[in-house]
């Protein structure tokens, strides 16, 4: 049985025929749509490496069935920067040495973008750690990650006032 879905990924429309209804969003991205930037660390919702934004909300793409994504707007790590210009969260990750091997990094960054959008962490490092706790980094770059998320959050808050658009919506990147 083949199932057809239509979804927007990083602003591009994709029509996909799923020949296996069990395929996850993560495998769809990585194996079918040539978007391997999103990583697989556990395939069970326990590490956060596969985090993407679906309609602006962060989710573990290894736990989402591709079949349930009909009509969704998805942002992955590949769609975050505007050409050469890095997204503020990405730039903050460089500035704060927030990774070593870089394997957890796409998930960390997408999770941070989602978190800043949620607006729940404010300027509190403990809250940031708590709300980023679904993303494991075995290289242990938590210190840098926390600082990077705080800085990007501060910048987003500053920019949110005078400007009309929110620089942290995944859609902007499309």
């Amino acid at each position: 049985m083949s199932l057809s879905i239509s979804l927007a990924i990083n602003g591009r429309q994709h029509d996909v025929a799923l020949n296996d209804p069990r395929v996850t969003l993560l495998d769809l991205l990585r194996e079918r749509l040539d978007l391997p930037g999103t990583k697989k660390g556990c395939d069970r919702g326990q590490c956060g490496a596969c985090t993407v934004l679906v309609d602006g909300r962060r989710i573990n793409s290894c736990l989402a069935l591709a079949a349930s994504m009909d009509g969704a707007e998805i942002t992955t790590i590949e769609g975050l920067a505007e050409g050469d210009e890095l997204h503020p969260v990405q730039a903050a990750f460089i500035e704060h040495d927030a990774f070593q091997c870089g394997y957890c990094t796409p998930g960390q960054i997408m999770s941070a973008v989602g978190l800043i959008k949620e607006g729940m962490a404010g300027d509190d490092p403990e809250r940031v750690r708590e709300l980023m706790s679904g993303n494991i980094c075995r290289c242990g770059a938590y210190q840098g990650i926390t600082e990077a998320v705080l800085e990007a959050g501060r910048k987003a808050a500053e920019n949110a006032q005078p400007q009309t658009g929110n620089p942290d919506t995944g859609k902007d990147a499309a």
């Binding site: 660390g41 040495d97 494991i136 938590y142 926390t146």
Partner: protein, 793 residues
Amino acid sequence: MAIAEVEKQGVGVSMLRKEDDRLLRGRGQFVGDVRLAGMKDVAFVRSPIAHARVKGVHPPEDLRSQVVTAADLEGVKPIRAVSGLAGFKPSDQPVLAFEKVRQVGELLAMCVADTRAAAEDIAARVELDLEELPAVHDMIAARDKDAPLLHEDWGDNVFLETFVDVNIEAAFDAPIKITREIKTARQSMAPMEGRGTVAYWDKRMEQLVLISGSQMPHIVRTGLAECLGLGQHQVRIVSPDVGGGFGYKGILLPEDICLGWYAMRCGHPVRWIEDRREHLTAGANCREHHYVITAYADRDGKLRGIDCEATVDSGAYSSYPFSACLEAAQVASILPGPYDFPSYRCRTWSVATNKCPILPYRGVARTGVCYALELVLDAVAREAGLEPHEVRLKNLVQPDQMPFDNITRKHFDSGDYPEALQRAIEAIDVKAIRERQKRGEENGRLIGVGHSIYCEQGAHGTSVYSGWGIPMVPGHEQATARMTPDGGLELRVGVHSHGQSMETTLPQIAHEILGIDISKIKLVHGDTEYTPYSTGSWGSRCAVMAGGAVAAASRDVASRARKIGAHLLQVHVDDVELVGGRVKGPSGSVSLEEIAHTWYRLPQNLPDDVDPRGLEGTVGHKPKRDTGTFSYAAHAAVVAVDPENGDIEILDYVIVEDGGKLINPMVVDGQIYGGLAQGIGTALYEEMNFDSSGQPLASTFADYLLPGPTEVPAPRLDHMETVSPYTEFGVKGIGEGGAIAPPAAIGNAVNDALKDLGAELVRTPMTPRRVLEAIFAATNADSQDHSDRGGRT
């Protein structure tokens, strides 16, 4: 201007990393990201039983061509990692098991299909006929006379027993004698990216190409070629971006050999990407040690001697290249730590059990050794009524003794251990903690302060490893430096980065010597085809060995560039110097760009006697002494222990480290933070348990707990800088150190918190249940001997 650039980019500068951009954009290429036309997926059939006779492996008839069993692998040799140490018993690790399986997860068949899911469907249909044997799951019981045997021809289950005795009798009359039985849990390295391999046969090059996240591609090539009976020129190993290794990616896997064998015959690429369950249950085990350790001391805390029996659970096979005895043999030589005492005895056993082979994990044996020794030193302090740091200060090797040959003939190159400890004690403010302890906590929690100190041998070379006689002995480390026609530089090294930032730090070294802007220096690594032979990235050796080689190769190119530059300036070579990327004479200068342009594109302008090797050089490097650098650190922790529920919270953490000259301090900080995170995992969370039938009990991250951002506090770092007298720039290896000391520092802090209850915890991880058990044991069985606490389970 040029000078300013040198200051911004050379050795000692916290430069932002060159590798960051692609990783941040999701453009890194890890092995799972490789896409090749026609590539098929592999799933393995693995043993569900820890110890069994293999009576039969039956692929489904209709899918026979998609299944490989041991019977198919004619001529393929087993993995055999021997050690030259006297009495070592080698094991043959079959690529696919046939007579026996000796661990859960051992490979029995390989299934190939268009997708992993389809391959797993085939694997599920392969019928196994296994006759279960009693399993060996406890390393102490494994040494019993009547224990079942893993390798029947051995007669026992001991890979290797070692013994060293330096006048231990002289310590026996010491007034203080403290004995503890101490255990560290079996762990998994758990890099976020597991192992993975893509294999294909390159028809034009007549070469088997294996793309595999590896810390040591050249060693994998050597081992793989030997198992498959190929010439080494017929094998190429490509290690792309590597998502963390920590030791796990430093080995040759049977999976690699299986895929290689298949790729040579099937006409299309195949890939296997380890899933998390495979990783946790079948692939990566480390750290499981058992100590019975006695400290002899005088009343003033001066150590008279250490006596120890140490056992390491080495698992079923000796893995390639480090062998099954790496940990236990190291225990005997590094147990004395940074201390100076006159008597020592240590007996060690590397024991075979029905678990997956033990592999070196960041810090290797040091984490366990540091935990055992530092715990027993704190017990000595309690017995003597002294502050633990007072006992340590009495026994640490003093700076004026450096360089120092210790009781096991380790040669400490340089350092001021007491200073590091004192700084840590001051920073954590032991006095204030003692006051706070007196006042007590309103919420009933118990506060404790603890510390630990270690020194870490890194970049040890030929003289150390030749004695072990394992399949890999590091010699000279080589690097190639090659100027490009536009004045840029390529560096080629055989080590490989799995997060260490080498694409930044090694160019910083070349920049220091040549002055070429770092954006124009490219590191080529992770490919046996393009890089000089190397034992790879392990043993905290890359900064010292590859860094030294890059410096030597850069100097080689610099000297030839100077000669060409002098000729272009029409002056004698003795009258020029290379500064900031320009060769400067008494009245004028010429850039490296112009020099490179001349060598490659205007050779008519070169002097007649120009060195024909041009602007390219491969140079080998060894430090002046190859016995290793000794970086060191003192860690100090304050914890709050809740005696009601056993919870441990880290309130403060201080690290004072000395890694000699740091190439990039920011990168070193990152390594220390990361090591600390892993050390906290060892101390409080991570445990790979097996039941009595040898079944692994943790198969997901819900059972195997990794520390997350809320578990790892922000430590306070303090740096000292004592250069090594033997290395380029005085650098020392420091990549592993952060993971060594935390279990000991936290363990001592916990025991400090529990001391008024008379409780003591001597096992990792220090879980709430174990805390409560220790308290319960102390309050309910006051007469119980200490050594029973945290004893065998």
